[in-house]
Subunit: 231 residues, 2 copies
C-alpha cells in the first residue's frame, strides 16, 4: 500500500515494544520510589527488599492480568459492535447510508461525489460494515491471541524493571549504603530506557531519556519525603 | 450527525471517567496488595502505613506525570505528522492520491468511483490532510488542554483509591487485626468500582465487578505469598 520509504517515516513502535515500554516504565519507577521512600525511615534493608518484592508481585499481576482482561473485553466489545452494525446495515440501510454520508461530508464531499461510494457499499455489505467499524466507531479489530502474550510481556518487563532498583538493597548491608547506589543505577537505567523508547516511538531520544528519568526522580523524591514525614 | 437514540447505543465512557478508572483501578489494587503482603511479615502497622503512603505518592506521580508527558508527546507527534502531510500534499500530491486510493480500494471501490473524491480533495487541501491524518495514519487530534486535567484526575483517583485499603492499618493496632478489615473493605470497593466501571464502559456490570475484584485479590495473594517467603 505504501512505498517502503514512506512507511519508514511514519514508523511507530510494534506491539511487543509497546508492552515492554508499559511494563518497564512502571517497573523501574514505582519499586524504585518505594525503596527510596522506606530508606528515609529506620527500617532494615530486609524489610525494604520484602516490601519491594511484594510491590513487584502486586504491580506485575495488576498490570498483566488487568491488561489481559481489558484486551479480552476489547475483543468482545468489537465483536458485539460488529454484530450490531451487520444487523443495522441489513435492517436500516438508509440510516447507515446517512452515517457514511456524514463521515464524507466532514471532508467536504458533495452528495453527488458520495453516491458512488454508497452504491459500492450496498453491493458489498462486508466492506460497508468494516468501514463503519473503523471510520464511524473508530474501532480496530483486536487480535484475541495477543491478550495472553501482551499480559506476559508487560508483567515480565515490570519484574525485570523492578529488580534493578531493588538489587542494591539485596547485596548491601544498610539502606543508607544501598540508597545512593539504587538511585544512580536506576536513574541510569531510566535514562537508557527512555533513550531507547524515544528511538522506537519517534520522540527525540535525549528528551525522552530526560523525561523518563524525571518521572522516576520525582516519584522517588515524593515517596522519600512522604515516608520521612509519616514514619 | 446521528439520531440521539443511535448515539446512545454506542455510548462509551467520557475522558474524565476513563481517567478516574485508570487511576482508581491501580490505586485500589497495588497499595492494597502491598499492605497485605507486608501483613504476612512481623513488621509494625506504622511501617505498613509508611510503605503504603510512599507507594501511593510514587504511584500517583508515576501515573499522573507519566500521563501528562505522554499526552504532550502525543500532541507534538500529531502536529509533526500533520506538518509532514501538509508538505506531502503540496510537494508529492500524486503519491498522496495513491494513498487515498489505497484506503478506498480496501473497501472495494473502483478507480472510477474514487476519482471524484480525489478531485474534491485537490480543491480542499485542508480536508485532504485531515482525511490522511485520520484514515491513513489513524491519528485523532489530541486536545492539548486535556493533558493537565487528565494527569490530576488520574493522580487524584490513585490517591483516593489507595487510601481505602490503607485506612484500617491507620486505625487498628496490629496488622493481623487490620488485614481482614482491609481485605473486606477493598474487595467490596473493587466490586462496586468494577460494577460502576462496567455500567460506564458498556461491559456487563457484574462481570466487570468480578474481574476487578479478581485482579485485586490475585495481586494481594501474590504479594502476601512473596513477602512471606522472603521475609
Amino acid at each position: 500500500m505504501h512505498r517502503p520509504v514512506h512507511e519508514e517515516h511514519h514508523f511507530t513502535a510494534g506491539e511487543t515494544v509497546r508492552d515492554i515500554v508499559i511494563g518497564m516504565s512502571d517497573g523501574l519507577t514505582v519499586p524504585f520510589a518505594l525503596a527510596a521512600g522506606l530508606s528515609s525511615t529506620a527500617v532494615a534493608t530486609s524489610i525494604i527488599v520484602t516490601a519491594g518484592l511484594a510491590e513487584i508481585a502486586a504491580g506485575s499481576i495488576a498490570m498483566g492480568l488487568g491488561g489481559y482482561l481489558a484486551a479480552r473485553s476489547d475483543a468482545e466489545h468489537y465483536a458485539s459492535e460488529k454484530a450490531r452494525e451487520e444487523r443495522e446495515v441489513e435492517v436500516v440501510p438508509q440510516a447507515e447510508e446517512d452515517e457514511v454520508s456524514a463521515v464524507f461530508r466532514e471532508y467536504g464531499l458533495t452528495e453527488a461525489e458520495i453516491a458512488p461510494v454508497l452504491r459500492s457499499f450496498r453491493e458489498r455489505p462486508d466492506a460497508w460494515v468494516d468501514f463503519m467499524m473503523r471510520f464511524e466507531l473508530n474501532l480496530e479489530e483486536p487480535d484475541p491471541r495477543r491478550a495472553l502474550s501482551s499480559a506476559l510481556t508487560i508483567a515480565g518487563a515490570y519484574i525485570v524493571g523492578g529488580l534493578i532498583p531493588l538489587s542494591p538493597y539485596m547485596v548491601l548491608p544498610t539502606a543508607s549504603a544501598a540508597l545512593p547506589v539504587s538511585v544512580t543505577v536506576t536513574i541510569a537505567a531510566l535514562s537508557v530506557f527512555g533513550y531507547v523508547k524515544g528511538r522506537f516511538t519517534g520522540t527525540r531520544p535525549w528528551r525522552s531519556a530526560l523525561q523518563t528519568a524525571l518521572i522516576g526522580g520525582a516519584a522517588a523524591a515524593a515517596a522519600f519525603l512522604i515516608a520521612r514525614v509519616f514514619a
